[in-house]
């Protein structure tokens, strides 16, 4: 169970989040929706340790997740994908995926020179895992292209692939469908369901309402830094206030 409780963030005089609480159970997809500037991405940043909140706490399966330390948070199995994908653009797709793997003996200077056999063995494992992930994402044919040469949609798939190399418990995804063509969106939806069925926790920030209603098990609606509604997609659809104000559809 992922719990973010009473999270507050202020930028200068602007209150981005006001005591926001959300939670997500294993094997579920939780949607965060709301207009631009409602604080969705900020909330993901706080959970991922990229933004130090003014108050609140984050817990995963009862353990307290440290705030403001992205590298430590990643060690808890929490992975964050960004709206504008963060990639090593002058490395190939394959290299990008390989970097996602944790515990690489070859990243230690001492192992590099004193235990070359162990480094080589681990590297072969990482290569094999990267190959599997690329196949799963249908990106094998792009493996040796530079990441900067991929289309926007492929870059989003790639950044998800990098995260999966670390076998994360929690995936925080920021608008994975924005700017992605419908065929790739279909593939993403299938993929998200697979990940959910593996027992992972997925938190999804998304503007594409069809996708949200389609895949989410639970939805939190944010506005101006506050949770104004929460429930199943059915309940949210029935909430006239939310529909009228934030989702742009007649009640």
């Amino acid at each position: 169970m992922l719990i973010a409780a009473d999270i507050s963030v202020a930028f200068g005089g602007f209150q981005a989040l006001r005591s926001v609480s959300v939670q997500a159970a294993p094997g579920s997809i939780v949607g965060l929706v709301g207009p631009n500037g409602s604080g969705k991405s900020t909330l993901l940043d706080v959970i991922a340790g990229l933004r130090q909140p003014d108050g609140g706490k984050v817990q995963l399966d009862g353990a307290t997740v440290p705030l403001g330390r992205p590298d430590v948070v990643a060690g808890f199995g929490i992975g964050r994908a960004f709206q504008v994908p963060r990639l090593a653009r002058r490395l190939t797709v394959f290299q990008n995926v390989m970097v996602g793997a944790r515990g690489q003996s070859g990243e230690k200077l001492s192992d590099l020179f004193l235990r070359p056999g162990r480094v080589a063995r681990r590297e072969r494992e990482v290569e094999a895992a990267a190959r599997d992930i690329l196949r799963r994402l249908d990106l094998s044919h792009k493996a040796n292209d530079y990441a900067s040469d991929l289309s926007g949609g492929q870059q989003k798939l790639l950044s998800m692939g990098i995260l999966l190399m670390a076998h994360p418990r929690v995936l925080l995804l920021d608008e994975p469908a924005a700017g992605v063509n419908p065929v790739l969106i279909e593939r993403q939806i299938r993929f998200l369901r697979e990940l959910r069925d593996e027992g992972r926790i997925i938190v999804l920030v998304e503007h594409n309402m069809e996708m949200v209603a389609n895949v989410c098990d639970h939805i939190f609606v944010l506005d101006a830094g506050e949770v104004i509604a929460a429930g199943t997609p059915m309940q949210i659809r029935a909430d006239a206030r939310v529909m009228r104000s934030y989702l742009g559809q007649p009640a």
Binding site: D71, R86, V99, R122
Partner: protein, 291 residues
């Protein structure tokens, strides 16, 4: 002629070590070190300190290449979290502070006048030592370059936040790279002191840092071969300044200034027309299909 070749090879080898050190920091990790002359000076002054205070040569070498990474870590610890602009300023400032300290505190190694150290009389031995140092440094850097560590450092270069969200502490890796590359530059400094036979603050001006940068940017900051090639070109123009002055009947000060102007132009033109340098970073291919 033989003397000239030996001197040129020795010079190119020593400055190539400095270039490889900068390659690890900038080409691989993306750290903009505008004080690259600092670890070089620290190494040389280790030798100078030992000579002035009657310590053996090995003690001077130990002081030089031990203090260099230590100072590097002290500089990067506060600066590591800052943006590259500030990191550039801090390293630039640290290099100048050290030079000013050596200039004004005569107790360390002679102040303005500098200090004499044991000069390697056998120039062939000096060249061999320089080549051994270069080979060792290049092999070490090559192993780092082609390893998972090198891959991760490139990710740091491209996007520190990405590396952090993938569970790596950027500062820790930057410290490792700084320590390793400053040891290399420190060793180059120790050898340089014993090759020239003296240390003086005027050898470690800010300009020297940009001579190293010119070499690295010209050859290609992302490959070791590029760095050595760039250093060879830059240092050959340096050691032949005297001959060019004789041949062209121009004052050697003028030739030296025109040489530096050419370096400035090279830095600008390479960035304008060939940002990857003469030898670009090769693409590493993987087989994505085999089972």
């Amino acid at each position: 002629m033989t003397d000239f070749i030996i001197f040129s090879v020795t010079t190119i080898a020593i400055w190539s070590v400095l270039g490889i050190s900068l390659h690890l920091q900038f080409g691989l990790t993306g750290l903009v070190n505008f004080g690259q002359v600092l670890p070089f000076a620290v190494g040389a002054y280790g030798a100078g300190f030992a000579a002035v205070h009657g310590l053996p040569i090995w003690a001077g070498a130990l002081i030089g290449c031990g203090l260099a990474p230590l100072i590097g870590v002290l500089v990067i610890l506060p600066a590591g979290r800052l943006t590259q602009d500030y990191w550039a300023l801090v390293t630039l400032g640290a290099g100048e502070i050290f030079r000013l300290a050596m200039l004004n505190i005569s107790g360390i190694a002679g102040g303005v006048e500098g200090a004499s150290v044991v000069r390697l009389g056998d120039r062939t031995l000096a060249m061999v030592l320089a080549l051994v140092l270069l080979t060792g440094t290049a092999l070490f850097a090559f192993r780092m370059d082609r390893s998972p560590l090198g891959r991760l450092l490139r990710v740091l270069r491209e996007d520190e936040t990405l590396a952090a969200t993938l569970g790596r502490n950027p500062l820790r890796f930057q410290l490792v790279v700084t320590a390793v590359s400053w040891v290399m530059a420190g060793l180059a400094g120790v050898l340089y002191a014993h090759v020239t036979g003296y240390v003086s603050p005027s050898s470690f001006m800010v300009i020297e840092t940009f001579v190293i940068w010119t070499a690295v940017v010209l050859g290609g900051p992302n490959t070791i071969a590029g760095v050595v090639l760039g250093t060879a070109v830059v240092q050959l123009t340096g050691v032949s300044t005297r001959f060019i002055a004789q041949w062209s009947h121009l004052p050697s000060e003028l030739v030296a200034n025109l040489r530096l102007a050419a370096f400035g132009a090279v830095l600008v033109l390479v960035f304008l027309f060939r940002p990857q340098g003469v030898i670009p970073e090769p693409k590493r291919r993987y087989n994505a299909d085999s089972r």
